[in-house]
Amino acid sequence: MTTRLPRTIPWMTIAFALALFIPIFGTRFYTSVATDVLILGLFATSLNLLLGTTGLVSFGHAAYFAIGAYVCAIAMKTFEVPFLLALPLAGLAAGAAALVFGYFCVRLTKIYFAMLTLAFAQIVWAICFKWNDVTGGEQGFNNVPYPDLAWMEVLPGLSRMRVGELYFYVTLVVVCLCLYVMRRITNSPFGRILTTIRENPERAEFVGIDVRRFELAAFVIAGLFAGLAGALFGIFNRGVFPDFGYWAKSAEVLIMVILGGMGQFFGPLVGAFTLVVLNQQITSYTEYWPLVLGLLLIVLLYAFPAGLLGTIADLVKSLRGRRNA
């Protein structure tokens, strides 16, 4: 009798288990980088729900990140709402904004869709920049409190950790839950319909799919998860700024998705990791980082046409195919 091994290796569970040890064996710096990567990875994955799964190019995804960040920060600091309430509130607010903006955006296609998402994002940025009394304007909304994590100290191994390390665990759990839900969504019949729309919207329409409605649903879900990422980032950053909603942020997250590979569910996470680490390494050595980073990105995009993870996956597949043949 042989024990049956699972056909696929549970990479996600292994990665989660390994990540648990980062604050224990790594330095505080690595913990901080890991927190950054996780949050931006969630942000990028949420965009990929539009880009990779549904085939919608959004140039304004940062808007929902910013809305989530501001809602969570303002709720926690100004109204002293506990984190456990403020976080879902941020996601819902971002999702609601995505519903309103998306209602108009999905009426357009291709470049027009992209331009309208950008326009809405710039409106969000302008509101954050101007509304001094609520958002703090250009100087930002500062001194965002960490959630109350004292209760975590009773957990084994976490008794003597600083709040920064404890926050890493909060981020890890929230991000993994979000990724799990998004993966379920992508692999569900609903996700399959989104892929159908990506492949051929006209045909999907003929089959009887209400393309606009499904696109809007994807837009809202993506906005919701971007809002959750923003909420986590605002606390991690200890301050929320209008820059969070600026077009440059939308471009940055777009690069993460493309760099990691939009055909793979975990591509954006790999892209976020790569961009964060590259940025950190290059800016440590030179202030001419835009030149170096730009050149590296060009090389990477040429060498890995399907993104880092996408190209590796293709390679593995072709190797396996050869072995089986």
Binding site: T27, R28, F29, S32, D36, F129, K130, N132, G136, G137, E138, Q139, G140, N142, N143, V144, V163, G164, F233, N237, R238, G239, F241, D243, F244, Q280, T283, S284, E287, Y288, W289, P290
Partner: protein, 396 residues
């Protein structure tokens, strides 16, 4: 005897080892500074000034027998990037102190990080009053920059001396412009209750077309104008206002904050600079000041290799100088100890005595003001007889 000798030798070796160890341990100062994009024009020279202060201190044998080391990273003018590099410098490079940040957003962004890690943070350029407002102040935060209150009140002091009645303002419509203009208006009303604010224009930050604002302002017939348009915004404004006869109509009674008198702004505007208006800057190489300042300018010329050095090195230099004096006075390189002695500390800087107020942890940093003129010795407009406006008399 032999034993004693051995022991002595052992002790010598030990003490040598300790000495070497102490020498190897530099005092690390982390500097997040804007070094890319348009802001690099000001960030680079500010960094140079800080580096010069560090090099000078090291040439004199360092501080408390240890060398200083300046670790700098590009903040990109982004508050979240400033937070990221500040964290990196604290957690990875293990800096003992932070001196830096540039924009009005970067300073307040890094402040909570300094507090969280208990690292002294000195802001050399961030002006917003909110940075050191009671609700945001903490034991590790200090500022050697001027503030929006000081800048606005300085401009009011200047305009109050002119024989004008109808005053107008034009400022970018965001936190800095609003704060500095509010400080200007409030102080002017106190100084000269009979002066009247006849018009206030608020172009958005980064406005490309100032013509409607200029025309609307001229229609109200002001005698004098205060502006806080800065950098490239000021350059664009000047290029559009001059052909419309704006400065002639107000008789050059134009007081421009936002470092409009700095070399960088003067060079960018070139021959179009409206001569006769008032500008300000953090320092002035042609100031007829005390010997200490002249000496500083001479050293700066050598250090940067520039015949007319920028006004920005002054901010980095003074911030590091204040920190060094703090370390000396505390006789410790621990942020906790230095944070205790900095409030109330007075330092002899090239621009005069600077005192960190115990109340709001900010220095009495004024700026240089002067009428802009064309001097045949220079290819750009400069302040004629720049004067340092000490804000102490008009601070709360």
């Amino acid at each position: 005897m032999r034993k004693a000798l051995l022991a002595a030798a052992g002790a010598a070796v030990l003490s040598l080892g300790v000495a070497v160890d102490a020498r190897a341990q530099d005092i690390k100062i982390g500097m997040p500074m804007i070094l890319s994009g348009p802001g690099a024009l000001f960030g680079e020279p500010a960094l140079k000034g800080a580096q010069m202060a560090v090099d000078e201190a090291n040439a004199k044998g360092g501080v408390l027998g240890r060398k200083l080391q300046l670790i700098y990273k590009d903040s990109k003018g982004n508050p979240d990037e400033a937070v990221r590099v500040a964290r990196e410098m604290i957690l990875k490079d293990e800096v003992d102190f932070l001196v830096g940040t540039f924009t009005g957003a970067e300073g307040p962004a890094v402040s909570p990080i300094a507090k969280e890690n208990k690292i002294v943070f000195i802001a050399p350029v961030s002006k917003p009053d909110a940075l050191t407002a009671p609700k945001n102040l903490h034991p590790y935060l200090f500022r050697t920059a001027t503030t929006t209150t000081i800048e606005g009140r300085s401009a009011a002091e200047l305009i109050a001396k002119l024989s004008v009645k109808r005053i107008a303002t034009i400022s970018p419509d965001y936190a800095y412009g609003q704060e500095v203009t509010a400080a200007f208006v409030a102080h002017l009303k106190k100084l000269k209750p009979d002066m009247e604010i006849v018009d206030q224009q608020w172009p958005k930050l980064g406005e490309a077309d100032y013509t409607p604002f200029i025309n609307a302002q001229l229609a109200k017939q002001p005698d004098a104008v205060f502006s806080s348009l800065w950098g490239g915004h000021f350059v664009t404004f000047i290029k559009q206002a001059t052909p419309l006869g704006y400065f002639k109509r107000i008789n050059n009674n134009f007081v421009a904050g936002g470092e409009a008198g700095s070399i960088e702004s003067a060079k960018a505007i070139g021959d179009d600079y409206p001569l006769g208006i008032w500008g300000n800057s953090y320092d002035a190489f042609n100031w007829d000041g005390p010997p200490a300042h002249k000496d500083f300018i001479e050293r700066l010329k050598k250090y940067t290799g520039q015949e007319q050095p920028s006004s920005w090195p002054s901010v980095g230099y003074i911030a590091v100088q204040v920190l060094v004096e703090g370390i000396r006075k505390a006789n410790s390189t621990k942020s906790d100890d230095v944070a205790k002695v900095l409030p109330g500390l007075t330092v002899d800087t090239p621009i005069g005595k600077q005192t960190i107020s115990p109340k709001n942890h900010s220095a009495n940093r004024g700026q240089f003001w002067g009428k802009m003129v064309k001097d045949p010795r220079y290819t750009f407009a400069v302040m004629e007889k720049p004067m340092y406006l000490d804000p102490t008399p008009f601070l709360d």
